[in-house]
């Protein structure tokens, strides 16, 4: 078990390192390719030549890429001092870089944005699990019923509507639509949970719905298919034949078979969403990781882009790892097979 655990952790770390190397390389090479001003990319200021030279010197643009990468990575552990050619700043460990446009360490910005994304993701996950799995189970149990057909149609539509379109429709209806639907006449504005829990919840509901609609549809389809497959297995037929109450059969056999794929999927989806709910956060202008990254990308705030991409990969990999470990604990075959 220990070997399995260590193996998975080593694998996950490899992935993070690969992602960070690729990210780093791309954002180092890109400005060179486009002929843009490197110092500008790093500091976001229309720098004078002297200033640009000072920045280049401080960041070591002249050094080989592997050395620059090493400096960046060791900064995460040891912290580093940075400069935009004017202001010396200290970026304490763990230093993921410093945004001179925002005059803040990247980690601090990520730390501030993460709770927003966490709230969005977890809230939506609860909703989609609740509705998705329930609808899937009911559909499978009452296969062919009106409910099943309706759920199938709704879930198909659900997976076919882009979440930003749902989002725009919702925003339109809730802020500018017919009077009886205009529940948010002042707009949907994010409020931190610690400041105003009720306001936070009210603001979260529309984006939750957008995300949950999409994922609930996916989960309902998956649950239904898995349940149906399981219900056709011999041991479940036997259970029916034995005259066990439906609740027991569904609960003991059906749900047990549905759980592993759902756990896997939840892990992956939550991981991916934590890495950045870009579309929804941008549309609703919630100050989460996704919007942080998106704004950094469009304003070419390089340190932030690198920081968020690496943290995003870390979250995805971490979620994968948790799923893997859960599997290892739940299913001894897995750890033996590896």
């Amino acid at each position: 078990m220990l070997r399995y655990l260590l193996g998975r952790i080593a694998g996950a770390l490899t992935v993070v390192v690969v992602v960070s190397v690729v990210t780093f390389a791309i954002f180092q090479l890109a400005p060179r390719l486009t002929g843009a001003n490197m110092a500008f990319y790093y500091t976001g200021k229309a720098t004078s030549e002297a200033q640009a030279a000072a920045v280049a010197q401080k960041f070591g643009f002249d050094k080989p890429l592997p050395e620059q990468y090493w400096t960046f990575m060791s900064g995460i552990v040891a912290g580093r001092d940075l400069s935009d050619g004017v202001t010396e700043v200290e970026c304490p460990a763990p230093c993921l870089g410093y945004s001179f446009r925002q005059n803040r360490p990247v980690l601090e910005m990520i730390g501030e944005a993460f709770p927003v994304t966490l709230g969005l993701t977890l809230g939506a996950a609860v909703l989609w699990l609740l509705f998705g799995v329930a609808a899937g189970v009911l559909s499978a149990v009452r296969r062919g019923s009106v409910f099943d057909r309706l759920a199938t149609v709704v879930s198909l539509i659900g997976v076919s509507v882009p979440e930003f379109f749902t989002g725009m429709l919702l925003i339109y209806l809730l802020t500018s639509g017919p009077a009886w639907l205009r529940l948010y006449p002042d707009g949907i504005n994010y409020v931190p949970l610690t400041e105003d829990p009720v306001g936070w919840f009210a603001a979260m509901v529309p984006p939750w719905i957008c995300l949950a609609l999409l994922f609930a549809a996916l989960y309902a389809r998956l649950t239904r298919a898995t349940m149906l497959e399981t219900m056709n297995e011999d041991y479940v037929r036997t259970a029916w034949a034995k005259g066990l109450p439906p609740r027991t059969v569904v609960g003991r056999h059906g749900l047990r078979a549905v759980l592993p794929p759902i756990v896997t999927l939840v892990g992956l989806d939550v991981g991916a969403l934590l890495g950045g709910v870009v579309l929804i956060e941008t549309l609703f202008s919630f100050p989460g990781l996704g919007r942080l990254a998106y704004r950094a990308i469009t304003s070419q705030d390089l340190p932030v882009i690198m920081g968020v991409t690496i943290v995003g990969a870390l979250l995805i990999v971490f979620a994968n790892l948790v799923v893997d470990l859960l599997y290892g604990v739940l299913d001894p075959r897995v750890r033996n097979a590896r």
Binding site: V19, V161, Y172, A293, I297, T309
Partner: protein
């Protein structure tokens, strides 16, 4: 097993699937809808000419006083402009949708083709050869799956998009980025199928006859992958459509004066509380297309593999 009288015409599995598909009314309807959309976009210039619309700017239809929003109700809907006109440019929305469909479908199909080709190549090799080949290829796909793909695509597009001008290059970059990041899903599926197939006895029979790896892959295994690949491709197209829409929506994909479904939705995201119709029509087009693709994909899957439902 015995007993049934075999008809004279050979019923290949594909023919049987086709027959089942034809009986699936939902799938047939979806296919018709898709065919209409593809035909309309392919013949966009002719259709526009027929309807008397074009993608020229009609500034005279816009309010100079109101930030360039169309004059008149419902985004400037009129007999001349059935779906209204685009804010700020006055271009006919229907014409934009038709031309935008070309870009969106081109990108979706191109990216799907790339995903499928890469996925099949990786999956075939990983599944058939196993061992270190499998380890290397599977790990590569795992790493790609762990990428924060959307963020990464945005960043790549910002970087690559600034290298040149014009939507031609952007279209190509979009196809490459979307297609590349999508291939591990196809690759995993193909790998699983190959692993299952290579243990089948007909593969052993071919080996017993002395068939080479290439012949086994090409003649024995690949024909059996056609239907899962076809199904996965059909079900992949909608996700590629949505990916293009998402990236263009965020403003890093197709840019004006070029147009695509995502670009239109992205432009609409600035102004949809003022002109909701500008958001509604492109959005509905995406939904209908994606839905039709999904329904057809489901139908194809059922037709090829009647056991699952």
């Amino acid at each position: 097993m015995t007993g049934t009288q075999a008809p004279q015409v050979a019923r290949s599995p594909a023919r049987l699937a086709w027959r089942r598909l034809r009986r699936d009314r939902v799938a047939v309807a979806s296919a018709v809808v898709l065919a209409v959309i593809v035909a309309l976009s392919a013949a966009a210039p002719a259709v526009c000419a027929l309807l008397g619309i074009d993608t020229e700017r009609h500034i005279e239809l816009l309010s100079l006083d109101n930030v360039g929003f169309p004059e008149g109700a419902f985004g400037g809907m009129s007999a001349d402009h059935p779906l209204g006109v685009e804010p700020k440019t006055g271009r006919d929305l229907l014409a934009l949708l038709l031309y935008g469909s070309r870009t969106s479908l081109l990108i979706a199909l191109g990216a799907t083709a790339l995903s499928v080709v890469l996925g099949v190549a990786f999956g075939l090799c990983a599944g058939y050869f196993r061992g270190w080949v499998d380890s290397v290829l599977s790990r590569t796909m795992d790493v790609l799956l762990a990428f924060p793909v959307l963020l990464f695509s945005i960043a790549l597009l910002v970087v690559l998009g600034s290298m040149g001008n014009g939507n031609g290059l952007r279209t190509l970059v979009l196809i490459l980025v979307i297609g590349f990041f999508g291939f591990p899903y196809v690759g995993r599926l193909v790998r699983g199928q190959v692993i299952a197939l290579r243990q089948r006895e007909f593969v052993e029979a071919a080996r017993a006859l002395g068939a080479s790896d290439r012949r086994i892959l090409g003649t024995e295994i690949l024909p059996n992958l056609v239907s899962p690949i076809l199904v996965v491709a059909t079900l992949t197209i909608p996700t590629r459509i949505l990916a293009e829409a998402a990236l263009s929506f965020l403003g890093v994909g197709i840019q004006p004066p070029g147009t695509s479904w995502g670009q239109l939705l992205g432009s609409a995201s600035h102004v949809f509380t003022v002109t909701p119709t500008y958001m509604l029509f492109p959005g509905l087009t995406v939904v209908v297309t994606v839905l039709a693709c999904n329904l057809l994909g489901d139908g194809l899957r059922d037709a090829f593999d009647p056991k699952t439902n």
